[in-house]
């Protein structure tokens, strides 16, 4: 008897929270579908024959074909190789340079570390368009135009500031007692980094590397202005898929689908680490 009124009283509250949940659920789905639809459209179109790709109203029933993919694969080889080299090379370089730099700005901060930190981020303040002229001239004189080395160097420079800021914030999360314990145990700087800090910030490093990979993989502006054939990357391949005349939507969709697969794949593999990396505070 006494339980009944309490239940009745709590029911409207439960209903309200339930309807609230459903409401937010719908919003979330709408937003998610809004983001995902164009991607889905791209993938579907990639399987259409060129003739069916540009009809209005759009055709939902069609015979899927791999023709466009075959075409894409036949011409993509060198572009893919260049992109992989530039992306992997620059990301490794970013980590190799970024880890010691972040260490020197967090765990054992150098004098005027704030200035150092500001300097790194300040390099991102100038729009890249403003620097492209000098970059071109420098690349020309260094005989690096249309060279994969140029892209590796530039992508490293492009991603390093962000990476240093990210890795630094992960390193700050390492409990100071652990570092003190390592000092008492007799670990030097190198040991401290390799045996104590790096194992803890690994999830953070994975997140950082993933972001560097995405940025480098999708970079177009530098590549298009400073390379022609010897170092042309996947985004340039996408542009080259657009012919001067004729139908190209299905072909472009196939190329774009292929170009986005590696990033999605890397992101999916890194997902676990990514979540842990972004929730580093939970480690204790």
């Amino acid at each position: 008897m006494t339980a009944l009124p309490i239940r009745a009283g709590s029911r409207p509250g439960q209903l309200r929270t339930l309807s609230g949940r459903v409401g937010w659920g719908i919003v979330a789905w709408v937003v998610a579908i809004g983001f995902f639809l164009p991607v889905l459209w791209m993938v579907i179109t990639a399987f259409k024959p060129e003739s069916a790709a540009e009809t209005w109203p759009p055709k939902f029933v069609f015979t899927p074909t791999l023709a466009e993919f075959r075409l894409v694969f036949s011409g993509m080889g060198p572009f893919l190789t260049h992109s992989v080299i530039a992306t992997v090379g620059s990301t490794i370089l970013v980590l190799v340079l970024g880890i010691p730099a972040a260490y020197a700005l967090s765990v054992h901060p150098i004098k005027r570390w704030r200035d150092g930190l500001f300097f790194f981020i300040s390099t991102k303040m100038l729009p890249i368009v403003a620097a492209i002229g000098p970059l071109y001239v420098i690349a020309l004189h260094a005989h690096l135009l249309d060279s994969i080395w140029l892209l590796i160097i530039l992508y490293t420079a492009m991603n390093l500031p962000l990476a240093i800021w990210m890795i630094r914030s992960f390193m700050l999360e390492v409990p100071s007692e652990l570092l003190e314990a390592a000092r008492l145990d007799g670990a030097g700087r190198i040991r401290e980094i390799a045996s104590v800090i790096l194992p803890i910030v690994t999830p953070g490093l994975v997140s950082t590397a993933l972001i560097c990979v995405i940025f480098a993989w999708n970079e177009l502006f530098l590549a298009i202005n400073l390379t022609v054939t010897n170092a042309a990357t996947m985004p340039m391949f996408l542009i080259s898929s657009v012919p001067q005349e004729g139908l190209y939507i299905a072909h472009l969709s196939a190329a774009a689908t292929v170009a986005s697969v590696p990033v999605i794949l890397v992101g999916w593999i890194a997902q676990r680490s990514l979540v842990r990396g972004l929730a580093m505070g939970a480690i204790k």
């Binding site: 409990p175 007692e177 652990l178 003190e180 314990a181 390592a182 000092r183 008492l184 145990d185 007799g186 670990a187 040991r191 045996s195 104590v196 194992p199 803890i200 480690i283 204790k284």
Partner: protein, 362 residues
């Protein structure tokens, strides 16, 4: 094995703030269990970290085994430290955690494994725990691994920074006894920091009481309890705390609860020489004896806390003042609101200077 010495060791964190540790002088004997105790901000942890080499000195020096280590890096001091949150390396196994320092010293692998196993056995850590990560251990096990990491090194001095504060109450009492026993067996000089005066009293051979960066008193637990040098030590050591009340001086003693409580001549003389008109009276709860007939201090019971073996009476004495706590026998304590009287032996009473807090005629 080594003795440890602080010689007017100071640490200043900010220029305009008082020193965190102010000219600390402390001699710790070889094999002694020394407890540094004090409230938060008393400088006890800073003092320990100065000895560890984690905190530089701004003055004075520290010695370990007659060697001046003031400027030696932590790893060259031959010490091992147990941290409050254990500071175990999360990505290493228990065995790797315990053996890390030995690895850094270049001890061969077999030797390392043997010493880790010995330490584990000493601490009742199962062999199958050695392969686990700290995350997979209970709080008590982690605490023992942290102890093990210190023991494995066979250092000259153990430093422990509140190693029991993350354990639940029951485990804390058990572990307290285990650590004291272990230290006795190993005979290694130990400096132990705690804010818990019960830990300090039960574990330490001697206890150094710190407050505001200054050493108040360093003595055996018994001496601290029976013979505190000032009001701070008297109030800090003992649970429940000593009753402290500022009372006016009158002819032959002090005025309290509408009557005159006689004081020893020495105390009265000291008070007169200092030109005092009042002083701080200190009475331990167990020295307020519930009188059968008419005691000299009448009061009213405000609250009764029954602890089983004994009961704590919170009492307001006649004439006002702060509530006092009296420890009485647990059987049939007086009820709340009841009027009672207490008897006090004049010798059991402490007297302190009201402004400096110093003991009068100790």
């Amino acid at each position: 094995m080594a003795q440890v010495k602080y010689v007017s060791a100071s640490r200043v964190f900010a220029k305009d703030a008082p020193p965190a540790v102010d000219a600390l002088d402390l001699d710790i004997d070889d094999g002694e269990f020394m407890v540094l105790v004090g409230p938060s901000g008393s400088g006890k942890t800073t003092a320990l970290r100065m000895l560890a080499g984690l905190e530089p000195l701004d003055g004075g020096r520290v010695e370990i085994g007659e060697r001046d280590v003031t400027f030696a890096p932590p790893k060259d001091r031959d010490i091992a430290m147990v941290f409050q949150n254990y500071a175990l390396y999360p990505q290493k196994t228990v065995a790797e955690n315990m053996g890390f320092a030995l690895k850094m010293q270049g001890v061969p692998k077999d030797d390392r494994a043997r010493r880790v196993r010995e330490a584990a056995r000493l601490l009742d850590l199962d062999d199958n725990l050695l392969g686990r990560k700290p995350k997979q251990l209970s709080g008590g096990q982690r605490q023992r691994v942290a102890m093990g990491r210190a023991i494995v090194r066979e250092p000259k001095v153990f430093l422990m920074d509140e190693p029991l504060s993350n354990l639940d109450a029951k485990l804390r009492v058990q572990t307290r006894a285990q650590i004291a026993e272990l230290q006795r067996r190993l005979g290694v000089t130990t400096v132990y920091v705690t804010h818990d005066q019960v830990e300090a009293m039960t574990m330490g051979h001697r206890v150094a009481v710190l407050n505001g960066g200054k050493l108040q008193q360093c003595a055996t637990p018994r001496e601290l309890y029976d013979d505190p040098v000032n009001q701070f030590v008297a109030g800090f050591i003992g649970s429940p705390a000593m009753n402290l009340q500022t009372v006016p001086l009158v002819e032959g003693g002090v005025h309290i609860a509408g009557t005159t409580l006689p004081l020893p001549l020495l105390v009265r003389t000291a008070a007169l020489e200092s030109g005092l008109r009042e002083l701080v009276l200190g009475i331990r709860p167990e020295h307020l004896h519930l009188a059968d007939g008419a005691g000299e201090l009448p009061g009213e019971v405000l609250l009764v806390e029954e602890l089983g073996a004994d009961a704590l009476l919170h009492v307001r004495l006649a004439g006002g003042g702060q509530a006092m706590v009296a420890r009485t026998e647990g059987r049939r304590p007086p009820a709340r609101g009841q009027h009672v009287t207490f008897h006090v032996q004049p010798d059991d009473v402490f007297a302190f200077h009201p402004s400096t807090g110093d003991r009068l005629a100790a």
